[in-house]
Symmetry: C2
Subunit: 336 residues, 2 copies
DNA sequence: TTGTATGCGTTATCAT
DNA sequence: ATGATAACGCATACAA
């Protein structure tokens, strides 16, 4: 672990000189700068992030907050893909990633405490309960934050285009001839509200009837809940001809339930998911769904967060809505 | 951000006293200790990890190295589940997690450099190319490491029981009557070698013929490679009646290829995967596979790593082999 | 029992 | 152009 002091000693110069040379300060002679750089390379010098952070109050690290209420956490394919893209974009820009949590060890802390404890320069907030006071406290602190799929006034948010996604799904199944469309939606979140609203608007615009009983409360990423609601829907006197699921993964629950009931997709009933994860595309019949652009979502989140960190004065918070694309599969048949 | 100095000032004591009181030093009077603790709580004091790390040379943070050659990285369900369990176990024990990479920003560094840069107390190494010199350098350094699915002499390794897994799969399909069993294996890694060896041993023990042409080189988590090898196998004059895939995910490639060829699973050919991820269990027919215990693997890795960090003298490296379980699905039919 | 002094590695200010 | 010095927040050896 060679330090700046080692280099200074070897070259017979002061530590200040070495530091300046390494950081490209203008008041160092080109020859000295070169000597220092050469020595640093030879001695495998690497700055100590800890010392630097202590001195500068900046860590060159960002925190990522990922708490999935269903407990599936990182293993939720949609979010792990986003994490992956946040990570690679951050690295390129010189930041590494720390996973943020509550209550690390015996320390009782909330998210903001953890962020301060590690001096994270900013945080990407994804997949959390946005009503959690700890989350609110973090967002309202002066730590730069970027939220995913949730808007906080005065902050940057990256939104997957849920409204357009839902609208295009409804239009798609409408064009296939469906008029009795049920929607199993996720628990009450901003995303869910957006989708519900878009669902209703699209149905109205197309003149599709909207019986209340076709709107079922499911849970994201929860196959049991979808199974239950699927059973409920199909036992209705007037069952839907198409069911929209909260997400691709939860469709599995419905799929299995339908099989149990002796119903085939899309022979007896059509279905569509949301997310566009590989899982859905691997199913047979291939799932009709709306693909969210996880790669761009993650990259943009990291990019904007780092912009805010590095140029706080010029930074203007914005809401970005990223389009996805309809992925027509084989689970929506022409309705009779 | 209140510091130890703020507390000292408010209480009219020295910073040393505050520090000692907070750390439960024995040479502080109970009353003083109590006063300090109370003030700290009131002032929302939280230690600054950076300063502490600089002083102590320990960060209370561990690094996690996760590089998937196929580029799927964290989005590989098997690994993201392990990461999730490493994370929750570490948190409980007072450590948080930094994702380790090469070349962060303009700094050219390898894994060990990154670990030193952040002063990680230890590293869990998973899913990497273990022949990469950067990985070797990290393992051979004196940073405590725990590897997953790969043994390095003198280090702790957590092994999923690949040998038993492969053996039980072979036995299972044998009992279903299969004698022409092909194995599409992953790229050449320790895990692959273990499975290949177990496959051969099991076949020998059961008296199953092993034509070389039934042993195909696939790639983990790569559907295209499995598709290609599947096509090859099924065009053989004497095609197998059962194909074992590198993992559940890559089976998808084979499944789709078989469908394209007009062959049904398990009607025309049987198949099995490896991993036991939800994806496989969601498929219809449900995939026969061997489930690896991601939860225990991750927890044990974190537990052992932290033991080594905290009690380096007493620590004895060990190799742990964690059993999984056969998950009989519907993709292996009784052979004629 | 408490306080003083020192240093961890770095950078920034101010002299020289 | 270079160097001496202080400071970031904390913990510890040693002094009082």
């Amino acid at each position: 672990m060679t330090t700046i002091t080692d280099i200074a000693r070897r070259l017979g110069v002061s530590r200040a000189t070495v530091s300046k040379a390494l950081n490209g300060a203008p008041d160092i002679s080109p020859e000295t700068a070169e000597r220092v750089r050469k020595a640093a390379a030879e001695m495998d010098y690497l700055p100590n992030a800890t010392a630097r952070t202590l001195k500068l109050g900046r860590s060159n690290g960002i925190g990522v907050l990922f708490v999935d209420k269903t407990g599936s956490g990182l293993s939720h394919e949609y979010f792990s893909r986003i994490l992956e893209s946040i990570k690679s974009e951050s690295e390129q820009r010189g930041y590494d990633i720390t996973l943020i949590t509550k209550d690390i060890g015996s320390f009782r802390m909330d998210y903001l405490d953890h962020v301060n404890y590690r001096r994270c320069d900013g945080v990407v907030i994804a997949s959390v309960d946005f009503t959690d006071p700890s989350v609110i406290r973090l967002v309202e602190s002066d730590v730069p934050t970027v939220t995913l799929d949730r808007i906080f006034p005065g902050h940057t948010a990256i939104m997957s285009d849920n409204a357009t996604g839902m609208a295009s799904l409804v239009r798609h199944v409408y064009e296939k001839g469906h008029r009795r469309i049920a929607f199993i939606h996720g628990e009450d979140t901003y995303v869910t509200q957006t989708r519900l609203q878009a669902f209703r608007a699209a149905c109205s615009a197309l003149g599709i009837p909207q019986p209340d009983v076709y709107l079922r409360p499911g849970i994201y990423h929860d196959t049991a809940a979808s199974a239950k609601e699927t059973a409920f829907l199909m036992r209705l006197p007037d069952p839907p001809t198409c069911i929209l699921y909260p997400d691709d993964y939860s469709y599995i629950g419905g799929m299995n339930e339908l099989e149990r009931m002796g119903l085939s997709v899309p022979g007896d009933v059509s279905a569509a998911g949301f997310d566009g994860i590989p899982l859905g595309q691997a199913l047979r019949p291939r799932l009709t769904t709306y693909r969210q652009d996880t790669d761009r979502i993650g990259r943009l989140a990291a990019e904007k967060l780092i912009e805010e960190i590095e140029r706080p004065e010029e930074y203007v918070p914005e809401v970005f809505t990223l389009p996805g694309e309809l992925l027509p599969g084989k689970t929506v048949a022409e309705a009779i």
